[in-house]
Subunit: 627 residues, 2 copies
């Protein structure tokens, strides 16, 4: 297959995404395919090809010199200053300004300094170009013959960057410079000088990546010089008392005008507590953390920023914004460096939030030639289908089954939760989180139990428990567990009291099975509609990525058996882990990856399910289990 083969939009009735172009980077001949209009610097960075740069692609250091071998575009104003006319005629351009407009070959000169790289996300190699830079400076003292201002003196020593200075820095700059004998370390975040520290502190610079979940919040402290995680901590979101899911938290703000401020404060508390913990465990001073990144769903992002979430909660489901303005970590209550920036992932829509943007970034959905299906399973399930040519997204209302809520003996995936259920016709085996006495059933256990029962025939394809005599024939060792509690038929997973005492057991009800069927039907309807929009069949899908914490507990085989994901080879269903958190790490480690996250907004087309007249019929058709 040649690179160009998959380039046409998969279906005529689907709007084409941005046009793509093919680039070949020499020496090495690596061939990449990128949306038309991205810079050569981004195109290279996103594909793991390093080009010299000290400014990170801001057009200020003029070090990212490359030679466009065929049909170079017109030089930019900056090129005219960076190159001689002969060089320009020869195709030399600054890679951070030259756009990929047509297929081209690009020659990259040998690197002066080879930047470090780190593996993040789903096997993504990220060239380290963090927004946070430090430079140790030894400056000349001013004299009556050299009266330039303190700010200009510092900036002149950073002339490969074009920086704004924070007022906070100016307030004490005179004192710091003079007390440190003009030997200082400049702390730069993106295009802002946020600090000038006495002496040489250039070896220490950190960032914190937050995955701000509705249920759980995870923080990773990163060494930005090496890309290494230094400490990881997680905690329950302190907003829990306002409800387990986003809708109940949005409702809270509608009922009580003080709730929004309170929810914002609780988010801030959660983040601040985690930041303090990872710093303590990583032996890093909080003021050495110069940037944080935050990936969360749209509601969590609105709440942490104090944005009224009400329009998210009801049709037509409107976000205040897709791009969140630059804020300080301090504005979010996070006690790190007082001028540390907080990067908040942009969101596609009310139900495809910044966590999904981060997840797509981490899983390289926009770079891979293969057609892949990304499924983040939760109360709301986000589904993305596509490859580096096009991406379709939707959100399916899966309901709370996977979080253990609305399931009679359900619980979150915490100590005591049955997370694995293995069944044969004769026996049943459980795996419990924390290896303790079972206390309930979490999402993955639920899926295991139901798929086991379907496989053994104790649940028929429509999701009904079979009559008891049939059960005895099909699974003699388990039939005793298929019983009743009052009117309702149940299947007992574990006797807490004496066998036979159903009330004192952990069991699965007919209604629980229905809940799971609703959830899986919503999800399966979602990806089937996306496939149809793309004009593709199930067999065209080359990989399924199960994302989110639930995804990593779920067994790929059972996900297939349940019909939650398409029936493709089990090895092609991959648990991708906490991709939102990985995306947040990537944003801290590379300005170019951060730009890629933004670019994703233009790549993804959202398909709204809630107003489709055919949704209900299709949903009903998906309720049954695969034969």
């Amino acid at each position: 297959m040649t690179i160009g083969e998959a380039s046409a939009p998969p279906s005529d009735n689907m709007p084409a995404g941005p046009v793509r172009v093919d680039l070949v980077f020499e020496p090495g001949g690596k061939r990449v395919r990128v949306p038309q209009g991205v810079t050569l610097f981004d195109a290279a960075s996103w594909n793991g090809i390093a080009i010299d740069s000290t400014c990170g692609g801001h057009g200020t250091c003029r070090k990212c010199r490359v030679r466009v071998l065929d049909a170079p575009g017109p030089p930019s104003a900056l090129d005219a200053r960076a190159f001689t006319p002969a060089e320009l005629a020869d195709g030399w351009r600054l890679a951070c300004r030259a756009q990929a407009t047509t297929d081209a070959r690009v020659d990259v000169p040998p690197l002066v300094t080879r930047p470090k790289a780190a593996t993040v996300g789903v096997g993504r190699q990220v060239i380290l170009r963090p927004a946070v830079q430090k430079r140790y400076l030894e400056l000349a003292e001013p004299t009556l013959r050299d009266q330039i201002t303190d700010a200009e003196r510092v900036l002149a020593a950073l002339d490969d960057l074009e920086l704004r200075i924070d007022l906070d820095v100016l307030r004490t700059l005179g004192r710091v410079l003079r007390a440190a004998d003009y030997k200082v370390t400049a702390v730069v975040v993106d295009d802002v000088l946020i600090g000038v520290e006495p002496g040489d502190t250039s070896a220490r610079r950190y960032g914190i990546a937050f995955d701000l979940g509705t249920t759980t919040v995870v923080a990773t402290l990163l060494d930005l010089a090496t890309g290494t995680p230094v400490a990881v901590e997680s905690v329950l979101n302190a907003q829990q008392p306002f409800g387990a899911d986003v809708i109940s938290r949005i409702s809270a703000t509608m009922l009580d005008p003080a709730a929004l401020d309170r929810l914002r404060a609780l988010a801030a508390e959660t983040l601040a507590g985690l930041a303090a913990e990872v710093c303590a465990h990583g032996e890093v001073e909080p003021h050495e953390v110069y940037e944080v990144a935050l990936a969360g769903n749209a509601t969590m992002t609105h709440l942490v920023l104090g944005i009224d979430p009400e329009p998210l909660g009801m049709a037509p489901f409107i976000m205040a914004t897709r791009l969140f303005p630059e804020v300080l970590a301090a504005d979010l209550g996070i006690g790190v460096h007082p001028r540390a920036r907080a990067v908040v992932f942009p969101a596609f829509g009310a139900y495809v939030g910044g966590d999904i943007t981060a997840g797509l970034l981490a899983s390289g959905m926009d770079r891979d030639a293969r057609i892949r299906l990304f499924v983040d399973i939760g109360t709301n399930c986000e589904i993305v289908l596509g490859n580096r040519e096009w991406l379709l997204a939707t959100a399916a209302p899966a309901g709370p089954a996977f979080e253990g809520a609305a399931i009679r003996c359900g619980m979150r995936a915490a100590d005591g939760a049955i997370e694995v259920v293995t069944m044969t016709p004769d026996a049943l085996e459980l795996k419990v989180i924390g290896d303790t006495e079972p206390a309930g059933l979490c999402g993955s256990g639920l899926v295991d139990a139901v798929t086991g029962l379907v496989r053994l025939g104790l649940l028929d394809p429509s999701g009904r428990f079979v009559p008891e005599p049939d059960a005895v024939a099909l699974a003699p060792g388990l039939a005793g567990r298929l019983t009743r509690l009052g009117e309702e038929r149940v299947f007992v997973l574990h006797w807490l009291g004496p066998p036979g005492d159903v009330a004192q057991s952990i069991y699965l009800t007919q209604r629980d099975v229905r809940e799971l069927q609703f959830a899986k039907a919503a999800i399966a309807t979602g990806w089937r509609i996306l496939l149809e929009e793309a004009g593709l069949a199930v067999t065209d899908i080359q990989q399924v990525l199960l994302a989110g914490s639930f995804g990593s507990y779920l067994s790929p085989a059972n996900a297939i058996r349940l019909g939650l994901v398409p029936e493709i080879g089990v090895l092609r269903v991959v648990s991708a882990g906490n991709v939102a958190g990985e995306g947040a790490k990537m944003a801290l480690l590379s300005l170019r990856e951060r730009a890629a996250g933004l670019a994703l907004l233009e790549e993804v087309r959202y398909v709204e399910l809630s107003d489709r007249p055919d949704f209900n019929d299709r949903f009903v058709a998906q309720l049954s289990f695969p034969g």
Copy 2:
């Protein structure tokens, strides 16, 4: 004289300023001369020629279409999108992007809407293009088929601007839009959407211009739609208890670590009080004030921003910065719209501050073909010489004589101060501020008294009182006033008690005369050195502008007699008034004038006096009065 004639730098040993180019704007044929590299839009605006624009020159509205008639430069990337290839070949360009690189003729199409203009400063016609804009919008309600975010919905209706949105706006945007049925007024300041107000409030938008003096602070409330001042108030700077002059305030911060915070708070109090007063008097709600501008000397500016001023106070006199970062009025404690911006004038140097930048802007020093001398007289005297081709600046340490300090019977120009002294050989007449009993002598009265005595011969050219017998011969009616207080010779201006009781009188001492001589010598040395740097003679000066509140009290004739300003025709010495405040008004009324203020930083060359080996001799030579 042709336009080009004055273009060469006046002296070979003086570094040339930026190269100038001549532009002729058609129809009308107005010929202007501007620094090479400014945009055609700025060149036109600065010379009172209006070009269509709704974005104020940000390159977003694409309305500033002009045709460059000869030798148009290469089109910008934006031009390529705004014009057809045929139009580009015909010389059509966006005026806000096209730079004046060579002499050219530019054709300006008839205006679609004629912008208002206002006269500000020293007869400056300013085309009203304030940063603050309001637009009334009637938006469509979102639906499931039109799910764009609230922010994008508002921004799409403002597509001639490219705006960032304040987080504060996002926080309540959903609620405001829905409560107002999507009929709202957008409040834009420069490139930021700072407010979305329910209903149509587009008729009301205000700004406050502050002249932040060491002694007095003046606030002018401006109607930004008409350019009209609505209310003006002034008040003593509440920092007075920390000393009358900048050096004592800087010293205070060096002695007491808490003083900087206190000085900052006092500045904030002063500004906040004035803002409340002008709003009350102008019947404007504080939240209708969307921008403020601030012109102050470098020390006042450092203090109000909370920047450590210590390096300003001692050689080599270093500012933290020339350009002050964007701040909110709220950050300065000013209770107007919570997201109102505060524009702080940039400063040339520690002793040529933002008040002078504003003053030069208001007096058009950078636009006028005539060679002019700008003198702002105070404890520190700022002097600027030049024309639209070149500008030289210096600061002369005049000492406190003009503020009434260090003068035995001196006082500020307040009620009771003798402000005019008229003398003949036979009689003496006083004019007192407030028409009350005299209480002391302010700067202009001091100058009048001394020049009167010199003219009558009672002071000899060296500044010594003549012997008493000579006085009787020269001025029989005044000789009785030339007497002694203890050892010191004094001249009595007004008997408060019985005639003859010197201790109960308002008088001028020999030492007072010396103070004034020191002050005038410092100033005269300053402008003489500038003339010499420029290779010019006194007779080359075509106008002298006396700036600052002291300048407006001083009689031009006496300023010449004293030798404070060059001996040119008295009609050529003009009292320019409070030009710093006028410059601040211009910055509020026009983004282009604000840009001109910034551009001034590159135009002015600073000449440091304090390390000149010849300064002392030249100073001594200037001590005597003109013959």
